[in-house]
Symmetry: C2
């Protein structure tokens, strides 16, 4: 602990681990291809059929309808139909295959797309959960604490967006405090507000204060979730935010959120078809607004309990959808968002990690580029768990390590070790082990591999109890990254003005 303390809390977890994390994961393992060419073409053709026959609703956004009409789509009222292949052509003409998302600390900028994976934390939970206090509405204090923890967790590559809903701040003003907290308490890349066009504009303005006007207009400093209102509908709120971010050249994650059987067909292939049919117009729209604007194909599909109607997570059918979604994104040529440490569990228990693992693992094997919701999820995303955050973040480290693949260098082959040791002996003390042991294995923070007796001496804690101790220690040890006081002053003045201008309630 003492050595770690002197390192001032940057880019480490609890001082226990020697693992050093990169700013994002550069994958060196192949992607898993679940579907063959024929199956992928069936889904793409079916998506084209949906776009051609049924089309997509763009609710009450005349500007968007005009944009699509000008691009050659068939617009009737708010329903837009697209000729086969038209959207793919628009997208492939200008959408980047990968792009850099800039952090205020340049060493923490991330590349989204290609052979890279970026982990971002939970997004959107109205509740917060910890072992002592159980579940309660989240506040701005919780928000700040989460940002502080995420700042210190080396395998969370981004600070995120709505890491929880600060329910003690009026909805019309909430975005200001959220964006500011990311800037003030972290130096990792963050996300903007999407709950109204003007809040998206405020997010861009705050990014401009931080990065400079021309930097933001030229480079991607925000990525932002644009949810499709499945099935086959974009609403005016999301379209407004999409337009703001695309015009400013900021990143969008076009994400159909489909629970198979509810907002989409009860089959996996049908859900994927709808997902693609929904994502294509949104992705194309960003390119029609500003060719070259960073855009990501988001996939958030899960199953439901057909007994209760409740959403289920970590089940086998969404795992298959996940693997195939990655293939569809690569064929389209845009970065892919998918996966997460998803669970329906109310506690950081066995169910929570089983379900999280069974979403995380296929996402990694499928070559995910941006993983939102990768740490902290409980209860179908309604709750952010502090212990769950710590457990997940450790798990992400394991996934990062796995993605590095196998070392087949001469040192990795270790023939000298086998020769030196020979039959019946052990490798603990051999030269190869001595030279490599410090970095040979991922060094987990939350997992206990000690003997039963040692574990008893340590208090017989379960994983969640160990995680509880870790986040508390991390909050104690937190030290904020430096922020130019001039920038901070301008940010605070901007917020003060906007707080004056904005109402306290939505009515």
């Amino acid at each position: 602990m003492s050595e770690a303390r002197t390192r001032k809390g940057r880019n480490r977890r609890d001082g226990k681990s020697v693992t050093v994390a990169a700013p994002y994961v550069r994958r060196r393992i192949p992607t898993y291809n679940l579907l063959d060419e024929e199956a992928l073409q069936i889904i793409e053709d079916n998506a084209d059929t949906v776009l051609q026959e049924t089309g997509v609703e763009f609710m009450e956004d005349m500007e968007v309808l005009d944009i699509f009409r000008e691009a050659g789509a068939d617009v009737k009222g708010t329903r837009v139909r697209f000729e086969r292949g038209m959207l793919r052509k628009i997208i492939q003409a200008s959408a980047p295959g990968q792009f850099t998302l800039h952090a205020r600390n340049p060493a923490k900028s991330v590349i989204i797309g290609g052979g890279n994976t970026v982990f971002a934390p939970i997004y959107g939970a109205p509740f917060v959960h910890d072992l002592e206090n159980g579940r309660r509405y989240a506040t701005i204090e919780d928000f700040r604490n989460l940002v502080k923890l995420i700042y210190q967790l080396p395998y969370l590559h981004m600070s995120g967006g709505t890491v929880c809903e600060p329910t003690d701040i009026p909805v019309p003003k909430r975005h200001l405090d959220m964006v500011y907290s990311h800037i003030r308490f972290s130096d990792k890349a963050f996300m903007g507000s999407v709950t109204e066009g003007s809040r998206a504009e405020d997010s861009v303005q705050m990014a401009k204060i931080l990065f400079g006007d021309s930097f933001v207009e030229e480079k991607c400093c925000l990525v932002n979730i644009i949810n499709v209102n499945s099935p086959l509908t974009y609403d005016s709120t999301m379209l407004a935010a999409l337009k703001v971010y695309a015009r400013h050249g900021q990143g969008t994650i076009i994400t159909p959120f489909i629970l198979s059987g509810a907002m989409g067909p009860v089959s996996t292939a049908g859900t994927l078809t709808q997902m693609l049919a929904e994502a294509l117009p949104g992705i194309a729209l960003t390119q029609l607004i500003r060719p070259g604007a960073p855009v990501i194909l988001g996939n958030f599909t899960s199953s439901m309990s057909m007994r209760s109607g409740a959403p289920t997570f970590g089940m086998p059918e969404p795992a298959l959808a996940l693997l195939a979604a990655g293939q569809l994104a690569r064929r389209l040529g845009v970065p892919w968002r998918g996966g997460g440490s998803l669970t329906a569990s109310k506690l950081p228990d066995a169910q929570a990690l089983q379900e999280s693992s069974d979403t995380l693992f296929p996402a990694m094997m499928g070559g995910v580029n941006l993983m939102m919701q990768s740490a902290g999820w409980l209860e179908g995303g309604l709750s952010v768990g502090l212990e769950k955050l710590i457990l997940d973040a450790d798990h992400l480290g394991m996934m990062a390590r796995m993605s590095e693949g196998m070392d087949l260098s001469e040192n990795g082959q270790a023939m000298d070790a086998i020769r030196e040791v020979g039959p019946g002996k052990h490798c603990l003390g051999c030269a190869h082990t001595q030279a490599n042991f410090k970095t040979a294995f991922y060094d987990p923070v939350t997992n206990d591999s000690n003997s039963f007796e040692q574990w008893q001496q340590d208090g017989s804690l379960d994983a969640a109890q160990r995680a509880n101790r870790i986040w508390k220690r991390m909050l104690e040890e937190y030290q904020a990254p430096d922020l130019d006081p001039g920038i901070d002053e301008v940010l605070c003045a901007f917020m003060a003005r906007r707080r004056q201008e904005l109402p306290d309630s939505l009515v």
Copy 2:
């Protein structure tokens, strides 16, 4: 529950699920290929180099040394060295790519190898753990209860072997009670004893009483774990058991057990090289004894904590080793044993399921044929957890479902559903959903996806507490499968005679 009760407890879990399991998993998803041809050749070449230069010890078994000498190996004392490619040639001349392991209920016979996956339970735990009693030494009563539970768990395809160590029975007689319990309380396929040659013979004799002499001599009715005493050593106990089973045409699982950094090099590629070098002579030995004898390449490698020296499970490095081991087995042309629901956790907690998932998932993606230790593991295999058994068995159902792959039939494509529902509506009541919802999704037994309020009403239980209720109910509801009283009588007479002949202690 009532409908399930009338089904007399066969092939179901707690009556809650409608899922019907097949006798084993027929995979319809591709295998993940981590390593390319060049990397695989490096490992195979290195294994050949180890076999040629260093060789393997066969401790004090003159018969085995003679067999290898006659086959052309270089035998000096107990050290045997092999020319490059020699063992692979022997194996590929006669070892079967897949074989049927017969259960006394023919509907529960399993095919090991090819595109199939068979799940077998935990093997070898001296302790048993449950929520009320904590951890204690296992007894024959625990053994019987485990067999009864495994009998009822549809995704455990085999009854297993030493599902726990019945420590209240003297070691020299223990195998009789274990084999008998599998026969008496289950009708699934089981495993024989390997702790002494004569105990292996007893196992074969009991199988002959059950299946008939000629049936056993002609068909595989037992598979048996032969552990290599890594590094590069076979001991006389394991060789004696190997010889008994191979002579009787029964299956062997040749399994190097390597903790990287302890019994093998601290690198993954080095560990794989040693694993292959160790497995090849054992596999070839079965074929030299009886060409065509069923044999499986077993892979049990894990990492260790370089701080404490404790074994670690579910870590990223063994996941990579697992994926590559499957490739090596397929190139050799023999079935592959790997994976398991492995964990170092002492409790059925978040750690336990994270580590289990991160072993289970790569094993499934890697195309595992026989998964030992697939349910019940705690504490590095020292303890079998009753709650963990239930949680894992449910998880296996999810893996089985995932392995079925995606339905791309016209019904699976669900275009009618998308056409019928259209934008902004929901699919819950559409014709496609009504026709498919009962079988659309895996229906978990232990996972709770209910709302927070419903979950509170149900007692705010965690997954382990729910599993605790399930195993208790299953034991209450257990009904033994029929066993021919004449066979039972002969088995009991055989055991009575052997109990007379065998000592009560090893000294």
